[in-house]
Symmetry: C2
């Protein structure tokens, strides 16, 4: 079985050979820019690794890996417009350079390109894979809309939040694993369990993302910390804080929510301080652990040799214990 | 062979049974709103009529008809954001009601839904149809980007313009015909010629659209006339005017281009007056005729009985000689 590093290299090598040139250049240059920004290439590697674990042909799975990476980047391009995010992976976002209108079209084309990759797959179940892909496309959009809804709402609960990140983040990670398993002709039961493994890893992954947004460093995380705080995103940290904080701290948080950003640095500092007092880093880590254990449970059910499960679990751990 | 009216009724009946309910409602309500706004349903009817003409099963082609209609509406939702258009078919546009962020996601979901329709098709060439669909998706985006580029450029030519509307408008109309022909297992040569027929009908159709934007009435056209003038769209009328106008009129036009809209009504009035003096309605009609004749030429090459060609040509005429 290939290691994570080998598969990442294989995929990166294939990425380098891809060219997104086309006319008009105003549309295709930003695609190249976005795809060269880097990123962890988690979804394609998860797909390839799962395909490999189930004995599939990794080379034949490469177009599907490109599809999930391209699709993920499409969602980032559109999300950055909606979130007004100016920096991504340490660089200016697409809309910030080329404007919102072009960024909308760039995303649309990337969605089409993602599907084109998937059509390259020659597999008896390719129709099922296309259906899965469109299903997860919808789920990601639904999750993003819920995320925006919750920014405005004042009655969002932690289960609401978990349901939202399941759609927005976990579904695509889990679908990447599932596609890899289908490509390798894995058994139905295994495909189902590997998907649930992916969902729970995805939830833990997003919780880590929320944590890094508050406690991460800009050098490593590639964007300014506190973005979620400024946009009043109802993250696990915020929702938990509102549940467990004393009245005084709760009032401070509530007064900041919905407030214009008169002094954004102060807002970030004050709320981060409350989070620290409340030990939210540890509480969030415990919540991550809970989902990680569920992931382990589902992986256990999969009929794969132990060393292959260990490889998948090791990647899952990398995803959780990252600092970027 | 079914008439245009019969096919429109068949498709409309099928549309009524479609439901776009889903969660969160913020995403799915706008889809229902958009799809119920009406419109001419040209693309689906063209698809069904071509399928019918080549002896295909019209009922089996219905999902493909839904796909092109849904896709077309997706592009309208995103275009309206970019164009800042507040009114479409006499009603408020999606972004104007639900905001730009939701409108971006609504469009994304509609793109996915369009593809889902296409996946319902059970046909030996369904992969080819998916590829065609993604190709035209890219073309429409490329056309829209060129359209935006030309708004800023001062050296756009009439051939540039025709190349742009070929991508933005004609390609989807032509692809609708092509999909209908493929579904009916038409011969390769016929598929090629019916596509070229569609391209030329599409060019004439867009020229008519440009004409209506200046000389149409708001009651019938469903949007305020002069929108293209206000946004400095390099339409056939504007480009032709810049070519044939006397220096004085040319100067008036050029001074208006790029100007903020201090007095939008005056701008529309002045430029429309120049267009009238230059007989641009007649000149544009002649240009439309030119493309219509090319369309007739390609239709002539298709191996279909005369009465079936007549039916397709009659619909093409309806598209050209409309007042809305």
């Amino acid at each position: 079985m290939h290691t994570y590093e080998e598969l990442l290299e294989k995929f990166s090598f294939s990425m380098e050979k891809e060219s997104f040139s086309g006319e008009p250049v105003e549309l295709y240059e930003p695609i190249t820019y976005m795809m060269e920004l880097g990123g962890k290439r988690l979804r394609p590697v998860l797909l390839l690794m799962t395909c490999d674990a189930f004995g599939g042909n990794v080379d034949a799975a490469i177009p599907a890996a490109h599809a999930v990476e391209m699709f993920h980047n499409f969602t980032l391009v559109h999300d950055d417009i909606m979130d007004g995010a100016t920096i991504r992976r340490g660089k200016d976002t697409i809309w910030n350079i080329w404007g919102e209108d072009t960024a909308i079209l760039v995303g649309d084309i990337m969605f089409a390109l993602a599907m084109e990759y998937l059509l390259q797959i020659n597999h008896p179940n390719s129709n099922e894979m296309l259906e899965l892909f469109l299903k997860v496309a919808r789920e990601v959009c639904e999750g993003q809309q819920l995320d925006m809804n919750y920014e405005e709402a004042d009655d969002t609960t932690i289960p609401d939040y978990l349901g939202m990140i399941r759609l927005k983040t976990a579904a695509l990670l889990a679908t990447s694993l599932k596609l890899g398993a289908i490509l390798a002709n894995a058994k139905k039961e295994d495909i189902k369990n590997i998907y649930e493994f992916g969902i729970n890893i995805g939830l833990a992954f997003q919780l880590k993302d929320d944590l890094l947004d508050v406690f991460g460093s800009v050098d490593k995380f590639g964007k300014m910390p506190g973005g979620d705080i400024l946009s009043d995103k109802k993250t696990f940290l915020l929702l938990k804080a509102l549940t467990i904080a004393e009245e005084a701290d709760k009032k401070i948080i509530e007064e900041y929510i919905g407030e214009g950003e008169e002094d954004p640095e102060q807002k970030i500092m004050d709320i981060t301080a409350i989070y620290s007092t409340l030990n939210l880093d540890k509480i969030t880590a415990t919540e991550m652990e809970r989902h990680f254990e569920r992931a382990e449970y589902y992986l256990e059910l999969v009929s794969l040799p132990d060393e292959k499960k260990a490889e998948l679990l090791s990647l899952a751990k990398k995803m959780m214990y990252r600092d970027q």
